[in-house]
Symmetry: C2
Subunit: 544 residues, 2 copies
């Protein structure tokens, strides 16, 4: 039986509008039309201009038959057209498929085929890979040439981005998604073996994460946001939409270069940026040469690995405050934050680093993160010791994997999203990752967490980056092998590092082998452990 | 035909959770369990305790048969139990009907009957009115006696609030709303004639407005929020949920008393509070005596009328920054804000007051506010002159009026919520109210905006508050009559005020009559113009 609250009280156009981050652009353009929205080199454009250009893009795509449920791919560095694509494409009703700029042609071709893209927006710098990928496709695709200074036009592009915009209408009225569950973006996970999976985002989740970003960071109106995080990576963790919601400034950067980053921070008084640990490390190393003259507070987010004490300390020295966040492509990038407590501020940096190393708690607008026994789906005790699988639940979680119902069902089994990360739940309710299942090294029947060994080596002053993997061993089954990147000018011997580890780790956890040199990384700065496992002939390399 | 993005990508428990502000309490209790949540006099309780007490309330209500679609009424000042009711009642599935504490027994009885309340939570101070209302009901209602120091227990209450909580389970697991469209609150509008209308709020809108409040104010984590705005008034504009979302502190105040307000601001370092203009005026007047020793910044929101220049200036002198917001009960309280621009800060206070007087632009998470011709539903030109009706659209808009489909349909006609306020749209897109239809005075065939005349009189240094209404006139039809409240110790004559107006207004707009004395006000501080119209025998008094 219906209650009195369900009679004559239905949704209508006045009291129910599907959630979509497109609304943030409309508001920024209406309320702050003359404020700068995007800066790229010496060029800048206002929110009014940005709104008009996005409407042009949307209407031009519509005129070419693109609409709801179609896919528009984009292969671009962090340029202004890439920011615009995050609005113009969804405004047309289509789904934006931002592609990793460091992929090879075969992988790009796989994604274009699997995602059924009808259009590909390509920055000229990336045209060689893009056109090679297009050549492999067995069907037509409309290639849009996004001009870039110093690069040639690709053969095979239908028209330039500016010509496409010229076809469009700057006053185009878009209707927004029919349903907030409609897809807004498609992001392929950078799986290291097997076909990449296409993670589908909905408008509702993009709206939620964009707002949550502002809440996690206490981000006030009109931030100046520097694009160090690739826009193709979980849609720049949704920050294009957050910056619009706050009517801030997008500072675009074609290349991740410490001198350019410091110059941008200084010249534009950047207030916020995000990045993998490698980005922050690069800045720390370049600070003596390039970091002078920055006298304002900067908020930095770090994801992908916990920031070690030395990093936190060095960042503080620069006046940068680090926030540690955690998530996956499937959760629109980070959807958990190591939320700081006031009483942490008085602690020594080592203690703060230990506390900050936790993956933490759910984003404000995510419903839950926890650690469950994946077999029983029961929560582990909140003892900081019992290992289970880290899981998410809530509105900042993907629709599922495109054309892959079995993977989707497995990911959502039991009503939670399974991250594949192993972790514990502290008495404070904060989640801490102990390891990914495949990062556990089993030596003489004992489990060794490669993260634990890496954490110790990170503390050595000569070590810039480290990755520990399992190396096959006739006697022990596996032993830890440490790959080490040294700080510029620093030196360390295997003997010294062994001694350093022995003071801090149980003997069986100390690496038996140290290898020095640059670590192989994904385009997002994540160390490619599978490659290191390959090098040492590890068995676990094969199932990644 | 379904697109590829609609196949095998359905909602499930992992990726879709109904929006509800209950989640903010859960997060505050999980992440900041030891932080203070509520202070009332010398007593305070943490977020963990608050969460447990709310779970107790919810489960005790459940055990007594209260659940989804039932109504729980509450008649309480701004005490901690009232904050708890904003969580505990919806957690049980029931709808919270917060009642205006200054109503008479007959009106309370009407609301209890119309809203079909099964339970009534009554603060002892308000028990006489409540029990008289209960006596008029022709059915049983469970009366819960909320104890208050210095007041006697009412005869007829079933049990105390603490006894009810003792029946409950502090670990009760609530399932949240089945649907985010479910009702969360019922608020009767204080109509001045005719039966009050029951405005029904949904969980989705309460969630949206709670978050929007934080965004409008750039409210950081852990604010200290002072309850000067009644919690019964649009659920304290949803700030109980906002404070939970930000894990802040609720400072409860039983009475609106300037000395107590200043003491709370000073002692608890209050960062935020809201109120009608009368609250801010009271503070300004009491500042010399009570406002000493406050050395931190305070954010104040004002709704109900634009703050005049003198008020803005006086508040700045106290270190208080005023934000002007606008809305109605139907839009969860304010859903528009006069968002300030950076370049306003350099202007003289008169200019800032003029700019700040606008009702402004939509809240971040409301979809639209605009001015339409109600006949054609076409937007008026954005010329700052053409008058139309102010209308809202979006997710911060009520479900409708309870058991009143015709009023609901009229309010939502054409897909917009009709506010009944007349306004203009400026070239900057900011809405400015010119008048409510009934506030237009028609003199010799010319329209006079009573607001315009009031604005002028507000600028006179002796005037504390003013209300201008139409007085019947044999010659002109109507003429403006001004009711004036003078500042303490200030003096003014009708002649002086007439001269003051003549310098600033067209002759026909100058009031022909000045009446000095206290203005009649509603419980929320709104001037009761209908009573003033009654006094002068105005025709428009009858149709209010």
């Amino acid at each position: 039986m219906k209650t009195i609250y369900e009679l004559g009280l239905d949704k209508n156009a006045a009291n129910h509008v599907p959630l979509s981050p497109m609304t943030f652009l409309a508001r920024a353009a209406a309320v702050h039309p003359e404020r700068v929205a995007i800066v790229e080199g010496s060029r800048s454009q206002t929110w009014r201009e940005t709104d008009q250009r996005c409407r042009r893009l949307a209407s031009a795509l519509r005129a070419r038959g693109i609409g709801r449920g179609d896919t528009v791919a984009a292969l671009m560095p962090n340029v202004s057209a890439m920011v615009e694509a995050h609005f113009g494409v969804p405004m047309s009703g289509a789904v934006l498929n931002a592609l990793n700029t460091r992929l090879d042609a075969a992988t790009v071709a796989f994604m274009l085929a699997h995602g059924e893209a009808d259009v590909l927006l390509v920055d000229r710098e990336l045209a060689p890979v893009a056109m090679a990928a297009v050549d492999r496709l067995e069907r037509e695709i409309l290639v849009i040439d996004v001009e870039a200074e110093g690069f040639d036009a690709p053969a095979g592009a239908a028209l330039t981005y500016e010509a496409l915009l010229a076809e469009g209408d700057p006053t185009f009225v878009y209707e927004g998604p029919e349903d907030e569950w409609d897809a807004i973006c498609l992001n392929y996970t950078s799986g290291t073996t097997g076909d990449p999976k296409g993670v589908v985002y909905h408008h509702r989740g993009a709206f939620m994460n964009a707002v949550s970003n502002a809440l996690e960071w206490d981000m006030p109106k009109h931030p100046v946001y520097l694009w160090t995080l690739p826009l193709f990576h979980c849609n720049g963790w949704c920050f294009a939409w957050t910056v619009a919601a706050r009517a801030g400034v997008n500072i675009c950067l074609r290349k991740i270069d410490p001198a350019a980053i410091f110059a941008a921070i200084r010249d534009h008084r950047v207030t916020h940026y995000c990045g993998a640990p490698i980005v922050h490390s690069m800045l720390i190393d370049a600070a003596p040469e390039h970091g002078q003259g920055i006298d304002h507070a900067v908020q930095a987010m770090v994801a992908g690995a916990a920031p070690p004490a030395a990093m936190i300390e060095a960042m503080e020295g620069l006046g940068f405050d680090l926030t540690h966040v955690y998530g996956l492509t499937e959760t629109y990038g980070p959807a958990a934050v190591c939320e700081k407590h006031e009483d942490w501020t008085e602690l020594p940096v080592e203690d703060r680093a230990r506390l900050n190393a936790k993956q933490g708690v759910r984003y404000h607008l995510q419903e839950a993160i926890t650690v469950l026994d994946p077999a029983t789906m029961e929560p582990v005790p909140a003892d900081g010791e019992t290992v289970g699988e880290v899981m998410f639940r809530g509105n900042i979680t993907m629709k599922g994997y495109l054309k892959n119902p079995s993977a989707t069902q497995a990911a959502f089994a039991g009503g939670w999203f399974h991250t594949g990360d192993l972790g514990v739940l502290g008495p404070d309710g904060y989640v801490k990752i102990k390891d990914r299942s495949k990062d556990i090294i089993i030596s003489g029947g004992e489990n060794i967490s490669s993260l634990e060994v890496e954490d110790v080596l990170h503390r050595h002053p000569a070590v810039s980056a480290v990755a520990v993997v399992a190396q096959p061993d006739d006697k022990w089954g596996e032993t830890p092998c440490a790959f080490i990147e040294l700080r510029p000018g620093a030196e360390a011997t295997p003997e010294a590092l062994t001694a350093f580890c022995k003071e801090r780790l149980a003997g069986f956890k100390v690496p038996r082998n140290f290898v020095f040199g640059a670590l192989p990384r994904t385009s997002t700065g994540k160390v490619q452990k599978y490659e290191l496992r390959d090098r040492v002939g590890s068995a676990s390399a094969i199932d990644e």
